[in-house]
């Protein structure tokens, strides 16, 4: 490459930066630094364009889309039941929660009833998924800040939850277990002892994590007062979930707009005061304890009965009926060849995912394929608040802030 070619390249780069960074950067007073997309602390493939004055962040421009896989477009080309498997792949730490929000949307569209046993199983599994997601968050967040051993402990416990998922669905992560009208099939007999063993074992493990971190002076130095956001700003930027609650806003969709029988359960919503990285950490730790309470209640009060709706227009008949019922064979054939046709209309359903408000907008035009599916994902919205959160902080704190809003790039880019 000749010098003039180099200069041309350089000019082109400068043109691209105009509007994203301040005039000072173009004059050379501040430094522009590219972080990511391949960076261990960006939790996936997030690129951040940073403008630095010394070590202080002047501006921060997140650049997403590196994990954009066109899931929403793909779902439009599949039948409702086929498109379900795509939802696991959006937020890959909250698979069952994504199944749940999509199924709730279909059920609302089609006015489909869910038997109580399936509703309790859904709550139980959604809470186990929340613990699973928070464990990955805690491990990677602590690893980013420099506490290596927490990561190993968290993944040890997470493995037990994945074993439970494998037991019920045959898959560790991409379970597709929650289906429209209920769950795929009833849980096996060894499910209950496995979950009981986990919930008896796990509270002591949370105490272990807290012993390692909560009063650790290094941890406090890195998290207290870092990345704070006021309640007004958090609402303005659309933050939800633990990020919003750490700022002191008491809004949990499980309490405010209960879905899937959450109104039957007794649990507390932990709130923070300062809205900084440390309060978000405390909120999520307490949420794991509350999730355990919900799991215990769901397991104790698990109703008997069918685990899937018997509305044969939407739910395939069980295998045992196919041998002697002509009607069952017809329904089976129709459902697996043509699919079902929910009435024309548009619905929006929101659930509380481990990261915040997970919404699903579903538009039907009366054909077997969804006309439009859109996921309002918490990572996407909270990442747009990153410039506000990191404003004026040191560059070393940025990894802590990214970790504390708990982004999953698959969730963000879809």
């Amino acid at each position: 490459m000749t010098i003039s070619e180099h200069q041309e390249d350089w000019q082109q780069d400068l043109e691209e930066l105009k509007g994203l960074v301040s005039e000072r950067a173009l004059a050379g007073d501040t430094m522009v630094l590219n972080m990511g997309p391949q960076h261990p602390s960006t939790h996936g493939v997030l690129r951040v364009l940073l403008e630095l004055d010394g070590e202080t962040i002047v501006s921060c421009v997140p650049d997403v889309g590196y994990l954009h896989t066109g899931i929403e477009k793909n779902m439009e080309a599949k039948k409702y039941e086929q498109a379900l498997v795509m939802t696991d792949r959006t937020d890959y730490l909250n698979n069952l929660g994504n199944n749940l929000v999509y199924c709730l949307a279909i059920e609302k569209l089609a006015n489909l009833d869910v038997p109580p046993r399936a509703q309790y199983l859904r709550v139980l599994l959604a809470e186990l998924t929340r613990i699973n997601s928070h464990l990955v968050w805690l491990g990677t967040h602590a690893l980013d800040i420099g506490a290596m051993s927490v990561f190993l402990y968290c993944f040890r416990e997470r493995e037990k939850i994945l074993d439970i998922f494998e037991m019920i669905s045959g898959q560790r992560m991409m379970t597709s277990y929650i289906r429209p009208g209920g769950v795929w099939r009833d849980v096996p007999p060894e499910f209950e002892p496995a979950v009981r063993a986990f919930i008896d074992d796990f509270p002591a493990k949370i105490d272990d994590y807290e012993n390692l971190l909560t009063n650790n002076p290094l941890w406090l130095d890195r998290t207290e007062g870092v990345g704070f956001i006021t309640a007004e700003d958090a609402i303005r930027y659309g933050c939800s979930g633990p990020v919003l609650r750490a700022s002191g806003v008491n809004w949990d969709i499980r309490k405010a707009l209960p879905y899937s029988s959450y109104e039957d359960f007794d649990f507390d919503v932990p709130l923070g005061q300062h809205g900084d990285v440390y309060d978000r950490y405390l909120c999520r730790i307490e949420e794991m304890r509350q999730s355990l309470r919900i799991v215990r209640q769901a397991l104790d009060n698990l109703p008997d009965g069918p685990s899937r709706s018997n509305n044969r227009k939407y739910v395939p008949p069980p295998r045992s009926e196919l041998g002697h019922s002509m009607e069952a064979v017809i329904h089976h054939f129709k459902l697996w060849t043509e699919g079902y046709r929910p009435p024309k209309g548009e619905v929006y359903v929101r659930v509380e995912s481990p990261r915040g408000e997970l919404g699903c907008f579903l538009a039907s035009d009366g054909t077997p394929k969804p006309w439009r599916v859109h996921f309002r994902t918490p990572s996407f919205v909270q990442l747009s608040a990153l410039p506000k959160l990191s404003d004026g902080h040191l560059i070393a704190d940025l990894v802590g802030i990214i970790g504390s809003i708990d982004i999953v790039l698959g969730d963000c880019d879809r």
Partner: protein, 173 residues
């Protein structure tokens, strides 16, 4: 889900042509808003006592191709104070896909509008930073439009192996 009971109240405080239609489906109230007045309606919804939709849940773009008006924008608003939610809906013509940005009212709409600009090709006037967000900057077309092909790969069998190899996108010598 909490029902919304302020339909008359919302309509009363607005100019008569602002709300074109009110629909209810499965307990969800949808107001079809005049595209010219979406910013005022949003501001009214946010600031009026008794409504106070302070939380912007999301914005979805829908392509109704081939019918006209081609695009729909669904704004989902929620009130943390009153625990109720509504959907505002705006229809945008396919010949000139331009809508007004609500970022001056709801900061959270910023990335949602960028996403719709990128994937559906609707331009938002007065948006502070309208760039592509998901697709690369030099991408042609808007993938979520219904007339944009999904794309697939032909399965290679023995009878068509040479032909498929010929059209594969990897670099040729």
């Amino acid at each position: 889900m909490a029902e919304f009971e302020c339909i008359e109240e919302l309509q009363a405080g607005l100019p008569p042509d602002a709300i074109q239609n009110v629909e209810t489906f499965r307990g969800e109230v949808t107001f079809v808003v005049n595209p010219e007045q979406i910013v005022e309606v949003c501001r009214y919804c946010r600031d009026t006592k008794g409504l106070e939709f302070d939380f912007f849940s999301g914005l979805t773009g829908i392509d109704y191709y081939p019918s006209e008006p081609r695009f729909g924008l669904a704004y989902h608003l929620y009130s943390l104070i009153h625990n109720h939610s509504i959907r505002l809906k705006v229809y945008v013509s396919g010949d000139e896909p331009v809508a007004h940005s609500v970022v001056p009212v709801y900061t959270a709409a910023n990335w949602f509008e960028r996403e719709i600009f990128d994937l559906l090709g609707i331009t938002f006037t007065d948006h502070p930073d309208l760039r592509r967000i998901m697709m690369p900057d030099d991408w042609n077309g808007h993938p979520l439009r219904k007339d944009y092909p999904l794309g697939y790969e032909t399965v290679q069998f023995s009878f068509n192996r040479d032909e498929v190899t010929l059209h594969k996108p990897y670099a040729k010598e």
